[in-house]
């Protein structure tokens, strides 16, 4: 068994799958990072993820266009991000309650709509509802490198774009006015307000942006990974994204590293199941959640968290 695990073929397949699974976590986590750096925690990510999966799948199913699937998945996610923003910024609601409420509501909404739009009876034969998956795009020379080529340069376009966006996020927070405003808002909203930053607006935009990315991440599952839609498709990936943010200390590269660990945990579980690994399958399925638990224990909210995280801001009269 061990010899079977340690072959180059297994390793290549495992790492390639690891990246493919890590990407949706990474996309959602980058969005959540922006949201949290503005001072809002969005615990509804898992729900928005499900909305993104549902919208992406349904649109792609009817229009036969994966691009439109991603686009509308992102828009739907942004819409729920905006709603979350209105509730938590304008109505100063407790962000934990709101987030949990959005998670439960969105899950129900996707279930409700998938049955109404695709039909309750028809949906039970889910094998009829297939869409072509996003094809991988191998980069001609680089993909020929042993192991590394297959792992890094024979992926789909979304994987490349996501990985390439990481330096952009770094640049955005370091050098652009908007990036600096987001950090100011998350660290000290009162000072930011005094400096003329519209705190409410910055936070609204950040939550909406986080929603868009969570929607895209959700759309990735049916469009790039599975080609079908199921109710419990998100399987906690949204929650993993939330854990990855403090693990990566609210920095893009750290979040990349964290997402890879989760991707690897998920991929390993898949691979071992396929190999009839001598452990009850329930323990293999449990593995990613167990890793999440350990990660959140080891890398809890430390000093580097935005100071005003979860605290609503409003101008007092004096």
């Amino acid at each position: 068994m061990i010899t079977q695990v340690l072959t180059a073929a297994f390793l290549t397949a495992f790492l390639a799958a690891g990246i493919r699974v890590a990407v949706p976590i990474l996309i959602a986590a980058l969005g959540e990072m922006v949201t949290q750096r503005s001072g809002i925690i969005n615990l509804g990510i898992e729900g928005i993820f499900i909305i993104g999966s549902f919208t992406g799948f349904t649109v792609a199913y009817f229009t036969k266009s994966l691009f439109l699937g991603f686009l509308l998945g992102g828009i739907a996610g942004g819409l729920f991000g905006l709603l979350m923003g209105i509730v938590s910024v304008r109505f100063l609601a407790n962000q934990i309650v709101t987030g949990l409420g959005f998670w439960i509501m969105c899950g129900g909404l996707a279930k409700l709509l998938v049955r109404t739009i695709l039909g309750i009876d028809k949906y039970s034969a889910s094998s009829d509802f297939n869409i072509p998956r996003l094809e991988s795009l191998s980069i001609s020379y680089l993909s020929k490198i042993p192991v590394l080529g297959e792992v890094l340069f024979n992926q789909n376009i979304v994987v490349y774009l996501t990985l390439l966006s990481i330096p952009l996020f770094v640049y955005f927070f370091k050098y652009t006015r908007m990036g600096l405003n987001i950090d100011a808002t998350g660290e000290n909203p009162r000072a930011a307000d005094a400096a003329g930053i519209n705190v409410g607006q910055v936070r609204m935009l950040s939550v909406t942006f986080g929603g868009i990315l969570a929607g895209l991440a959700g759309a990735y599952l049916p469009l790039a990974l599975y080609g079908v839609y199921t109710d419990d498709m998100a399987v906690g990936l949204g929650w993993m994204a939330i854990v990855v943010v403090p693990f990566g200390k609210w920095r893009p590269w750290g979040i990349l590293a964290g997402s890879m660990i989760f991707g690897a945990a998920n991929a390993l579980q898949f691979r071992l199941q396929n190999m009839n690994f001598p452990l009850p399958y329930q323990f293999l399925l449990m593995f990613p959640y167990f890793v999440t638990l350990i990660m959140v224990i080891l890398f809890s909210r430390g000093r580097s968290s935005p100071s005003a995280l979860t605290k609503p801001y409003f101008r007092s009269e004096h």
């Binding site: 615990l43 729900g47 509730v87 109505f91 100063l92 609601a93 407790n94 934990i96 309650v97 709101t98 949990l100 409420g101 959005f102 998670w103 439960i104 509501m105 969105c106 899950g107 129900g108 909404l109 279930k111 409700l112 709509l113 049955r115 109404t116 309750i120 906690g236 929650w239 939330i242 854990v243 009850p280 329930q282 323990f283 399925l285 449990m286 959640y289 167990f290 999440t292 638990l293 959140v296 224990i297 809890s300 909210r301 979860t310 605290k311 609503p312 409003f314 007092s316 009269e317 004096h318």
Partner: protein, 361 residues
């Protein structure tokens, strides 16, 4: 000195727990009406008839003897889950793990009521229920101690422990505790001595509801009349002030969360001894998560939880009829549940005078 005075008068967002426990019943009714209104619009949007759907829902949950009995049967675990979430939240602990604690309770109840045999029901039934409470309490103790000692975020830990417990449960009924005769992934039937007596003949209405109501009353008394209750209310009202007053905040929280887990575990135990009579994966349709909406709607008030549990039980029970007779998918329950939670979160905004007064301090 100025600093410490300011700390004793916390910012309004920190007063959240206090504000929710002071909420009045008018805002509660408004939250429900608003959630059903938005839900109705949604039914309209998917081409249904909201009035008809809600009528069918009420008929399904209260219209006849059996419907009524089933509503009460579902009230029972929901009430206990609501109490579980409420007591933990009183100390600012977000127990999103009641679902896992329900299953943990069911496991120990299963062990106690399948493998212990030949003792009198007078001892066996309480033993089985106690085992359930113990299971839930133990499963809740882990995230509680992690938060108290290491400040680990309990939303994530309790949630992940739900997934983990679900898989452990599914492993148990698929392996060690499986009833191989049945050919299904279920445990053997529990001993008859642990079955909860039926209250209403020819229905599934069992005496668990009496235990659940008793638990609500006991919890209300604990909160109002005991030292622990005083400490819990102090911690929820204002953590810093409680600390200044010499209350061991973390200790109080851990105690509250253990009680919380025990209540959820008891819900699992009652569901096994009262309804299922064996361990079955997926026996809870998310009672633990519904507990969150139940508790928030009831403003974390134990007696209020009885009524909000009844409302959600009726919703869950009537949803079946709604799907069959008005073609509105059962998932509508989750949507309304989420809306209730969201509206519960924003209802204090409209009480702006309090908010401004507190912001000024």
């Amino acid at each position: 000195m100025a600093e410490s005075i300011r700390e004793l008068h916390p910012k309004p967002w920190k007063q959240w727990i206090k504000r929710i426990s002071d909420a009045n019943w008018i805002s509660t009714v408004l939250v429900v009406l608003l959630a059903f209104l938005v839900g109705g619009l949604l039914i309209l949007a998917i081409g249904g008839d909201p009035l008809r759907a809600y009528l069918v829902l009420i008929k399904g949950s209260f219209g006849n003897r059996n419907g009524f009995a089933e509503t009460i049967v579902k009230t029972c675990p929901m009430l206990l889950a609501g109490l579980s979430v409420a007591i933990a939240l009183r100390t600012e602990f977000w127990n999103v793990g009641a679902e896992g604690q329900i299953y943990a309770g069911a496991v120990l109840t299963g062990l106690a009521s399948i493998y212990i045999q030949g003792i009198s029901a007078v001892i066996h039934l309480p033993l089985a229920l106690l085992a359930g409470a113990l299971g839930g309490g133990l499963w809740a103790f882990i995230p509680a101690i992690l938060k108290a000692r290491l400040k680990v975020n309990e939303v994530i830990t309790t949630l992940m422990m739900n997934y983990i417990m679900t898989f452990i449960f599914s492993f148990l009924v698929d392996g060690p505790m499986r009833d191989w005769v049945s050919g299904l992934n279920i445990s053997p039937q529990i001993e008859k001595t642990t079955w909860l007596p039926i209250l209403l003949a020819k229905t599934r209405l069992h005496s668990g509801i009496l235990i659940a109501i008793l638990a609500a009353v006991v919890l209300a008394v604990i909160l109002r009349k005991t030292v622990l209750g005083y400490q819990i209310r102090a911690v929820g009202g204002n953590t810093r002030a409680a600390r200044f007053a010499g209350i061991a905040v973390e200790n109080t929280m851990v105690k509250a969360v253990i009680i919380s887990g025990m209540l959820a575990g008891l819900a699992g135990a009652i569901e096994i001894t009262g309804v299922q009579h064996r361990l079955i994966a997926g026996f809870s349709p998310g009672y633990g998560f519904l507990g969150l909406a139940v508790a928030l709607l009831a403003s974390l008030n134990p007696i209020g939880v009885i009524f909000s549990a009844l409302l959600f039980a009726a919703l869950l029970n009537g949803a079946d009829a709604m799907q069959r007779w008005a073609s509105v998918p059962i998932a509508m329950v989750a949507v309304i549940q989420g809306l209730v939670i969201i509206f519960s979160a924003i209802r204090f905004f409209f009480n702006r005078s309090t908010l401004k007064r507190k912001a000024g301090s």
